[in-house]
């Protein structure tokens, strides 16, 4: 029986390597300089690349971070340092509610509230992904802040610091590593979200021209290229998948390494 549990573990771990290996084997050959610098080619022509999709994803994620991180971080600070029990439980409940919204539904709401007014583009996509980032940002910030020992806070106050100085110069820096890595994990998770972008970001064969103009993004391009019959586009999808996965995994590895290097991991 114990042996079986070992087998289960081996299966679970190997899935990751199979995925990585398969993506690399199929897409590695398409990873040329042209992939990173060219725009997509019209149907039937070869030599296209995903340069605009890589940049587009970057744009959308930048906006998502600018929305999700400040709101999530500051709200986390509020829940941990300031609020009374009643209001805190309301905020936590709402955060849980927000976390439970399926990603496609976030896309639907973002379409109705943003796209109908501005058109598809990085703005709508960034707002959708930003909303998805908030709940996790709140939870991880609050968790890491709470893990800072009260003695630090009391020490600072004993030395005459008022509340915001204590929080800003003592508590937050103490939890900084954990919070930072939490944000990185959050970003990596949101980087792979396709469903909301399908509805809000649009698609473009050219470079993006503005926050309310359609933009190509990696996950949407992967989906579009994968479901068609063209072998050339399949290879592009594999290559893009490999690039996306590598970036996501890299951020994850960095973030988790930061956490494990002597931070009070909240339990």
């Amino acid at each position: 029986m114990l042996f079986l549990t070992g087998v289960c573990t081996v299966i679970a771990v190997s899935v990751l390597f199979v995925i990585l290996g398969y993506l690399f084997a199929k897409g590695g050959s398409s990873l040329s300089l042209q992939f990173f610098t060219n725009l997509p080619a019209p149907t039937g022509e070869t030599g296209g690349g995903m340069a605009n999709a890589i940049l587009g994803s970057g744009q959308v994620l930048l906006l998502a971070t600018c929305i999700g991180v400040p709101i999530g971080f500051i709200a986390g600070v509020y829940l941990s340092e300031y609020s009374g029990a009643a209001f805190a439980s309301i905020v936590r409940f709402m955060t849980d509610l927000l976390n439970g919204v399926p990603s496609i539904v976030v896309g639907v709401v973002a379409y109705t509230l943003v796209v109908l007014k501005t058109g598809t583009g990085p703005l709508a996509g960034g707002i959708a992904l930003g909303i998805m980032m908030i709940p996790i940002a709140v939870r991880s910030t609050e968790a890491f802040l709470r893990a800072v020992p009260t003695s630090l806070r009391e020490g600072a106050m004993a030395l005459g610091a008022n509340q915001w100085k204590t929080i800003g110069t003592v508590v937050i820096p103490a939890a900084m590593r954990g919070i930072l890595s939490g944000m990185m994990l959050n970003l990596a998770r949101v980087a792979g979200e396709t469903a909301p972008l399908l509805l809000t970001a649009g698609l473009s064969m050219y470079w993006n021209h503005g926050w309310t103009q359609p933009v190509a993004t990696l996950p949407v391009m992967i989906y579009t290229d994968a479901v068609g019959p063209q072998e050339d586009l399949h290879r592009q999808a594999w290559a893009a998948g490999f690039v996306l996965l590598s970036l996501v995994l890299l951020v994850n590895v960095i973030a988790r390494t930061i956490i494990s290097r002597g931070v009070h991991k909240p339990r």
């Binding site: 019209p42 149907t43 039937g44 940049l55 970057g58 744009q59 930048l62 796209v115 109908l116 058109g119 598809t120 900084m176 590593r177 930072l180 649009g202 698609l203 473009s204 064969m205 050219y206 470079w207 993006n208 021209h209 503005g210 103009q213 359609p214 579009t224 479901v227 068609g228 019959p229 063209q230 390494t257 930061i258 290097r261």
Partner: protein
């Protein structure tokens, strides 16, 4: 990782990110955004790409997401123009008018063929399909490839005793509109049970998104049958069959037969260009053909965009028509081109 390294990382990342988001905004190009039908996507992509080469400061961006979504985007006002192979219905036109205070114009661009594409191991292209056979298959009543309805039209071909895997569109599609329009004309049962539309309640079959998705699904699934635009079958080496037209001939979908189907329409073309050319009369006319339209608002808020649109439409009706044939789309009959040239003036 020391805090110094973290700070360094953060600063570099934010610098790169800031650069990244500013760079695209620095280009000074006029952009027109369109979305809609996947049926004409190959020729539209070629047109917009060639037009861009001739006018480097103009980018016409086209997203292929299905005719239904194209119509919805035009009505929503989230795109500058749309594209559809299913003409907008009166109700949809009214919704647009109520919302925007002006009208949407239909401009036919090319005509194309909706072909029955299949993937039967060991069977080559050129199977003959009657309208009744296609209706029966899509209604779920004909379930095997060696059904008498199919074997009697193909006496020389050995069809396997295998289930037919029907593939249809999972999104709103003008290709579906054309296909169901034809089926409604040849099968009263289809007409009452399912009807003609961009999205229907399919009695059977797997769903895939856009022409591309259906083509991909057919290629992956043995014994499958689906409907796609001709160029998708040609480009991806998918076998496709002939369809029996009202004149009783099994016509191969190709440039000549689509041209024949479109030719008759010139005389009966209504002023708003919304017409169906399925089951066209004519000995060599392919029966499942359709025009595809650009949906252009009559009034543009941005005058520069209106000018570009008009210029592109002129280009499309002259240079563009010649390029259509290279991708097996039928160019428009001359009479229709002439009428359209006049209609372009309506755009303000």
């Amino acid at each position: 990782m020391s805090s110094k390294t973290i700070r360094c990382l953060l600063m570099n990342t934010s610098a790169i990110a800031a650069l990244a988001c500013c760079a695209p905004l620095a280009t000074a190009q006029t952009v027109l955004n369109g979305a809609g039908a996947s049926f004409p996507t190959p020729i539209y992509q070629k047109w917009f790409s060639d037009y861009h080469k001739q006018h480097p400061d103009i980018e016409i961006n086209y997203q292929s997401k299905g005719s239904g979504a194209g119509i919805a985007s035009v009505i929503d006002g989230t795109v500058d123009f749309g594209a559809s192979d299913g003409p907008m219905s009166d109700a949809q036109l009214k919704t647009y008018h109520d919302k925007h205070g002006s009208d949407v114009l239909h401009f036919p661009t090319v005509a194309g063929a909706d072909v029955p594409a299949y993937n039967i191991p060991g069977v080559a292209a050129g199977l003959n399909f009657t309208g009744e056979a296609l209706a029966g298959i899509f209604l779920g009543k004909i379930t095997k490839w060696n059904d008498p309805e199919l074997t009697k039209a193909n006496p020389k071909i050995k069809l396997p005793d295998a289930d037919i895997v029907v593939v249809h569109r999972s999104d709103g599609s003008g290709t579906t509109y054309c296909w169901t329009d034809f089926l409604s004309k040849v099968s009263p049962e289809w007409k009452t049970k399912v009807g003609t539309n961009t999205t229907v309640n399919w009695p059977t079959g797997l769903g895939a998104p856009q022409n591309n998705g259906v083509a991909g699904q057919i290629k992956q699934t043995p014994n499958s049958l689906g409907y796609i635009e001709l160029i998708y079958a040609l480009n991806n080496e998918i076998a496709y069959g002939n369809v029996k037209n009202p004149a009783g001939v099994f016509v191969k979908p190709e440039l000549a037969s689509v041209v024949a189907a479109a030719a008759g329409a010139a005389k009966t073309m209504p002023p708003d260009f919304r017409v169906s050319i399925t089951n066209s009369p004519g000995k060599n006319a392919y029966p499942i053909a359709t025009f595809t339209w650009l949906l252009v608002p009559e009034e543009f808020k941005d005058q520069a965009k209106a000018k570009i649109m008009k210029d592109f439409l002129h280009w499309m009706l002259t240079t563009g028509q010649k390029e259509a044939q290279t991708l097996s789309y039928a160019p428009l009959p001359k009479e229709i081109i002439a009428t359209e040239e006049k209609a372009i003036a309506k755009i303000k």
